[in-house]
Amino acid sequence: MSTKAQRGAGGPAAAEQPGSPQETVTISFDGRPLTAAPGQSIGSALVAQGIVAWRSTRKGARPRGLFCGIGICFDCLLTVDGATNQRACLVEVCEGMQIEGSCTPDDGSRA
């Protein structure tokens, strides 16, 4: 039960699902390699690694990650292979994808 409950909070979560293919893709987030499951959204791949914020607000430098989950709120914006302002909840990971967040430097939320 406890391993099940961990799902999504650590490790390449979706790959353990029944019916999922076992192979994984490697992406990079702010230069750091991460493993993800094919078909996962970027947002879910980051959250699976414990990364819940990848952007800071302009005024208050408050951390932001997923909120609406369906492309409405634009809280989850990041840069994908050089394309700015992409929604992490909508874009599927693929092999070699380079992802950059925009958290302010004092921000430890990517750990």
């Binding site: 039960m1 099940k4 409950a5 961990q6 799902r7 999504g8 909070a9 979560a13 979706a14 699902q17 019916g19 999922s20 293919p21 094919p38 078909g39 996962q40 959204s41 947002g43 879910s44 959250v47 699976a48 819940v52 914020a53 800071s56 607000t57 302009r58 005024k59 208050g60 430098a61 408050r62 951390p63 932001r64 990650g65 997923l66 909120f67 609406c68 989950g69 369906i70 492309g71 409405i72 709120c73 634009f74 809280d75 914006l77 994908v80 394309a83 302002n85 992409q86 929604r87 909840c89 909508l90 874009v91 599927e92 958290c103 302010t104 004092d106 921000d107 430890g108 939320s109 750990a111």
Partner: protein, 487 residues
């Protein structure tokens, strides 16, 4: 050069926006009535919110585990695919409609890719248009709701259905309405722990509406199914309870949800002193206060609107799902939030009606069933209102507009000092609703705050909030391409 500039246009008898339960049904019905159909959908594959599923290229979800009405989906999907094979349905996934226009010949849609790509989207032109863009979770701000780890309840559901995994470990689900039940049940069945479901209303609120509920017996069955899941996983379901604050820890930039404070409320949503309690070790909080239909496209075409029983702005339609704009049909959440079954029935009716060449109205199918579902939806809305007193849960520092970081204090100040009452005036004074999401997330709350605690927001205020020049953000290039040019 993108496709907008090269002027590629897809033409059809009937254009449809949205491939959710309503749009999918509409496409099938229109094609089976002989029309040529173009369907545009922002998502990468059909299903909408209700039948969102894992990417088909990776996982085939044949058994429909975790879905409801999956048989209906498979049936519609088979007919949809058959329509595509016959060449009658052109399916354009991964494109967002950012503008809709009407002229004598019919309707033109401008599209842009959902995910950045090398080319823009084609234009779509059709004599008739069916809009079935669905909606999104309605939100009420509360202190701490902008911490990472706070999500829309439907967003958690979408995460689970789309990825097959959970966005955290220990969840509190809060807000109002029966939709909180499938969200919590889905989390528990996927191995997450639901610490509590906090429902602001009370089961007694259903008593005056039992007649309407009895008209849709399958809802009772669904309810029993959730009750079983709640019992199996020991999920506490606490009525007349609300989250009063979401707490986080970590330094300012790195903070995320760690705990939740709640309290019991009276029927008006007023906190009962002494009933506060805390939930520790929580990493995801899901909020859902019903849904807000996506009204920008119907509004931009001039469709008549009304306030529905849940306080949402929705489109007015006749028995054939036709709006006040001739040739413009609406189906699904945009005519009133009523669930996927009703959305399918409305889609079938709209598709059949839009495909008919002359205006000789043929009787719309499914009228009785639609009436039953609408009565149930109205009962649901009345039993699960947005609590009148919700504004008292805020502090002046609570962020209301997440994009522009406008606080409750700034909005009430604009109301008191500057007489800003409707959402549009509040927006111009405070910038609430001016950011990336164009007020989709804060529009309802800002309209409530402008109105003050005494009354819910008016249709005028909500429609001023929902009028958006662009239904999706587009690049300057796509805007410029609208100008007639020789290129």
């Amino acid at each position: 050069m993108n496709d907008t500039t090269t002027g590629r246009t897809e033409r059809a008898d009937v254009a449809i926006v949205g491939a959710g339960p309503a749009g999918l049904a509409a496409a099938v019905a229109a094609a089976e009535s002989g029309a040529a159909v173009v369907l545009v959908d922002a998502a990468a594959q059909p299903g909408g919110q209700f039948w969102r599923h894992r990417p088909e290229g990776i996982v085939q979800e044949r058994d429909g585990r975790g879905h409801h009405g999956w048989k209906t989906y498979l049936d519609l999907r088979a007919r949809f695919d058959a329509g595509r094979e016959r060449g009658q349905i052109t399916y354009l996934p991964g494109l967002q409609v950012w503008m809709a226009e009407k002229d004598d010949a019919g309707f033109t849609l401008r599209t842009t890719p959902t995910v950045a790509g090398p080319v823009g989207g084609p234009a779509v032109a059709a004599r008739r248009l069916i809009l079935s863009p669905g909606g999104y979770d309605r939100q009420l701000p509360v202190p701490g709701w902008d911490l990472p780890g706070v999500m829309a309840a439907g967003g958690i559901q979408a995460f689970l259905k789309g990825n097959g995994s959970l966005p955290g470990r220990r969840f509190v689900i809060a807000g109002t309405g029966p939709f909180l039940l499938p969200v919590a049940a889905g989390i528990a069945e996927a191995g997450g722990q639901v610490v509590a479901v906090l429902e602001s209303s009370s089961p007694a609120a259903w008593l005056p509406h039992l007649g309407a509920a009895a008209g849709v017996p399958e809802k009772a069955l669904e309810g029993a199914e959730y009750a079983a899941v709640f019992a199996r996983h020991r999920i506490p379901y606490r009525t007349r309870n609300v989250v009063t604050e979401v707490l986080g820890s970590g330094s300012r930039g790195s903070s995320r949800v760690t705990a939740v404070r709640s309290a019991k409320v009276d029927a008006k949503g007023k906190v009962r002193p002494g009933t506060e309690r805390g939930y520790a070790d929580v990493d995801v909080v899901g909020f859902g206060w019903g849904f807000t239909p996506q009204m920008e496209l119907p509004l931009s075409l001039g469709a008549e609107t009304r306030l529905d029983a849940d306080g949402s702005l929705v489109g007015v339609v006749n028995e054939r799902q036709e709006s006040s704009v001739p040739g413009l049909f609406l189906a699904g959440e945009v005519t009133g939030v009523g669930g996927a079954k009703l959305a399918v029935l409305e889609g079938l009716a709209a598709g059949a009606a839009a495909a008919v060449r002359d205006d000789a109205a043929r009787a719309a199918p499914g009228l009785h069933a639609m009436a039953r579902h609408r009565r149930f939806a109205e009962a649901m809305h009345r039993a699960h209102p947005v609590p009148a007193g919700w504004q008292e849960w805020l502090t002046p520092a609570t962020v209301v507009c997440r994009c522009e970081e406008v606080t409750a204090g700034q909005i009430t100040e604009a109301r008191e000092m500057l007489e800003a009452r409707d959402a549009r005036t509040i927006k111009s004074f405070t910038r609430a609703g001016m950011g990336w999401c164009q007020g989709r997330v804060c529009g309802f709350a800002a309209a409530c705050l402008g109105q003050g605690p005494a009354a819910p927001p008016s249709a005028e205020s909500l429609s001023s909030a929902a009028r958006r020049p662009l239904a999706a953000p587009v690049g300057i290039g796509e805007l410029a391409a609208l100008e007639p040019s020789d290129s």
